[in-house]
């Protein structure tokens, strides 16, 4: 063996890998008709690049990788076909159908990342498998990384992915962007997966840290990709919502990792570039007349983002937007958020009456934020004993360390009230 490739080449190839590997994979899956074979081909193409690119980078690295990956896959299939593997024979036919993959360098090639997203988020796959498969195939996260993000064992994630790939193959889930008639319906689960990934990164449901920035970054990247490839008001609304939420990341925890509520955040830490981009997207989504729940939530986030300080927040507009949101996507959580906004507009007593009515219906009885929102209003009304009871209820429902510390702090500040233990 000669010595390994020089460091600058390794760095270049790593950069190409980060920028292109997911697009190359998306095209290889289309050409080869098989996820596992495409992943193997992608890997082999990059191994080949370490040697072949010593003399210099090809003019179009992506096309080179696709073409090399495809030939490597055909080699694999030929070897398997020799052992009379009928599946390999069929695969070989599929793989050899396109004489030159770069010849498909038109709309077909550009749509490959979308095909991949729509396939990974096919409604015939179980929801948790959609998330795992999207993070694995579209974002390129390893099984271990996904397992860490969702606090489950790597074997669980690996099994979800294997089963999902097997269902794609066995049930005949096609590798395609849905037609215009189904597009709107099929986009909903895609946006749901993207938002779920974002939220897990922004407000982790459990664990030691409040946020996992890497997951949010991936979700925003996916959101941008969707908007680039598919102009849709809800896609724009979701990207706007993610950008506007993300713009507050630096302000929402202290250096020590403690929670800072929206009203108490240092707005100088908000990311003005993300806000500008988010606000522009919201305006476009609302102007289309087809704005849905993501665009409306983004519009609410935009009202916050445009207030120079907490006191000058336009609560009247926020309550009005929640009213529209409730009509378009009714849910007790939206009602709760509306009640909190109404408390800012009309005073804590008015908000408290609404929250009590929601809790009386029982749907949010086990939802921690409902109890902490109620506790905040009771505290503002100086009904300290009742506030302490509500904080304890919220604490009993929280699995997130920084949130637990925040609630414990609030309890202690009420004076005399000892933190609950569970």
């Amino acid at each position: 063996m000669s010595s390994g490739p020089p460091q600058p080449l390794r760095d270049t190839i790593e950069a190409v890998y980060r920028a292109e590997s997911r697009r190359v994979l998306a095209t290889l899956i289309r050409l080869l008709g098989d996820f596992d074979l495409a992943e193997e081909a992608l890997h082999e193409a990059f191994v080949a690049a370490l040697d072949a690119w010593r003399a210099g980078l090809p003019g179009n690295p992506r096309a080179w990788l696709v073409s090399t990956g495809r030939f490597k896959a055909i080699d694999v299939l030929r070897r398997r076909a020799r052992f009379d593997d009928s599946v390999a024979r069929i695969g070989l036919e599929v793989a050899s159908e396109h004489p030159d993959p770069a010849a498909g360098a038109d709309a077909s090639l550009a749509d490959d990342p979308l095909r991949l997203i729509f396939t990974c988020c096919h409604p015939a796959l179980p929801p948790d498998a959609q998330v795992a498969l999207t993070l694995r195939e579209v974002c390129g996260l390893t099984t271990e990384e996904i397992a860490r993000a969702f606090l489950v064992g790597p074997p669980t994630i690996a099994q979800r992915i294997v089963r999902a790939k097997s269902k794609i193959r066995e049930a005949g889930i096609p590798y395609e962007v849905p037609g215009a008639a189904e597009l709107h319906e099929r986009l909903a689960p895609v946006l749901r997966v993207v938002y779920l990934v974002f939220n897990e990164g922004y407000a982790a449901s459990s664990g030691r840290d409040l946020t996992r920035a890497d997951l949010s970054d991936e979700a925003i990247r996916l959101g941008r990709l969707l908007c680039d490839l598919l102009p849709d008001a809800e896609g724009q609304g979701l990207l706007a919502l993610m950008l506007l939420t993300e713009s507050r990341r630096r302000a929402r925890t202290t250096a020590a990792g403690e929670i800072v509520l929206l009203g108490e955040q240092d707005r100088g830490l908000w990311d003005v570039a993300l806000i500008a981009e988010g606000v522009a997207l919201v305006e476009r989504a609302l102007a289309s007349g087809r704005a849905g729940s993501y665009a409306l939530q983004a519009a609410i986030a935009a009202v916050h983002a445009e207030a120079p300080d907490a006191a000058s927040t336009d609560w009247t507009q926020i309550v009005a937007l929640y009213d529209v949101l409730l009509r378009c996507a009714p849910s007790p959580v939206v009602e709760l958020n509306r009640a909190a906004a109404l408390a800012m507009r009309d005073g804590p007593a008015a908000g408290l009456a609404l929250i009590d009515a929601i809790l009386a219906r029982g749907e949010l009885a086990d939802y921690g934020p409902a109890h902490s929102a109620r506790a905040e209003l009771l505290r503002r009304l100086q009904r300290d004993a009742e506030a302490a009871v509500a904080y304890r209820q919220a604490l009993g429902l929280s699995r997130l360390e920084p949130e637990r510390r925040f609630l414990t702090g609030r309890l202690q500040a009420l004076g005399g009230a000892s933190p609950a233990t569970d």
């Binding site: 009928s86 015939a124 066995e170 049930a171 005949g172 889930i173 849905p178 189904e182």
Partner: protein, 116 residues
């Protein structure tokens, strides 16, 4: 690919229909069947008699054991099926969504295992 569309209805819902409603429902089925035959999707299809007419057969230790009723008691009962030819799952889903019972019951779409 070939898919079997298993049609599950609540027999009680069907039994509660008026004569006119039943006539309308069967008319929709007739139209649907005609349509998928014309488009080349139809391979086979039948309605089944009510689940009260079902018999379950098992052979254990060489002995045939026969019991009254279906394999499993469920809220919705298997009431019929279509065997269809579709390009892929998306097309099979589109076909299944047009089966009249999809609006009141549910359709299970299962790919056929081909042995060669």
């Amino acid at each position: 690919m070939k898919y079997l569309c298993l049609i599950y209805d609540e027999e009680r819902t069907l039994a509660a229909m008026s004569k006119a409603e039943v006539g309308q429902f069967l008319g929709e089925y007739a139209n649907f069947t005609k349509e998928i035959k014309a488009k080349g999707h139809w391979l086979a299809g039948n309605a089944l008699k009510p689940v009260a007419s079902a018999t379950t057969v098992r052979v254990r230790g060489g002995k045939v054991a026969t019991t009254d009723g279906p394999f499993a008691e469920t809220k919705e009962q298997l009431g019929g099926f279509y065997l269809v030819e579709a390009r892929d799952l998306n097309e099979a889903i589109q076909i299944a969504a047009r089966i009249p019972s999809a609006r009141i019951g549910s359709i299970e779409v299962r790919p056929i295992q081909e042995f060669n």
